[in-house]
Symmetry: C2
């Protein structure tokens, strides 16, 4: 329950960087190796690896090394957790507006 807090912290922090979001968008289309991911971002391989570490730490990405290639894949549960918090807030807000509306116009 309190881990939830830190989990969301790490999750939203991970998503707050467009390079990392690009990685996620790429991995939605299927797994990729580290150098494959680095290819499209004019940035050193090491930098991409650091981003990958962040994505892995928050549970958004799973990686596995086979031979000399590390293959990265998406883990959608993280996305769902963040989505859940967001939609919870939004619907909470909408419910409140509905109740306010009913107070002003008590028909329907």
């Amino acid at each position: 329950m309190l881990d939830h807090r830190g989990r969301l912290d790490r999750l939203f922090h991970a998503l707050a960087d467009s390079t990392r979001r690009d990685v996620v968008e790429r991995l939605v289309r299927g797994p990729a190796s580290v150098s494959e991911l680095a290819g499209s971002h004019s940035m050193t391989l090491q930098a991409v690896m650091q981003h990958l570490k962040v994505l892995e730490a928050c549970g958004l990405v799973r990686t596995e090394k086979v031979g000399r290639v590390r293959t990265c894949a998406l883990r959608p549960e993280g996305l769902r957790l963040a989505e859940g918090w967001l939609s919870g807030q939004r619907t909470g807000w909408e419910d409140r507006l509905d109740r306010l509306g009913e107070l002003l116009e008590p028909d329907s």
Copy 2:
């Protein structure tokens, strides 16, 4: 369209702090003054104001000063934008899995 990138950066960054998420959760229940928000967070008023500035800059919160009190309210559009990106990725992922499944089991 390119502003979208920076907008999501700021949005997710704003949500990556649990104090700021607390503020959002509070504002879902209705508007509040700055000191009201500061009350529950053992932290100076100034710190809370800085968080508020972040929330305002990314469009999640709207504030208005009347007399000597500044009243803060939620703006749900930001939530919707972030939610949209997240669900886009998730459904992209699910569609891909569906297509994979059809390849393996070509019935239905």
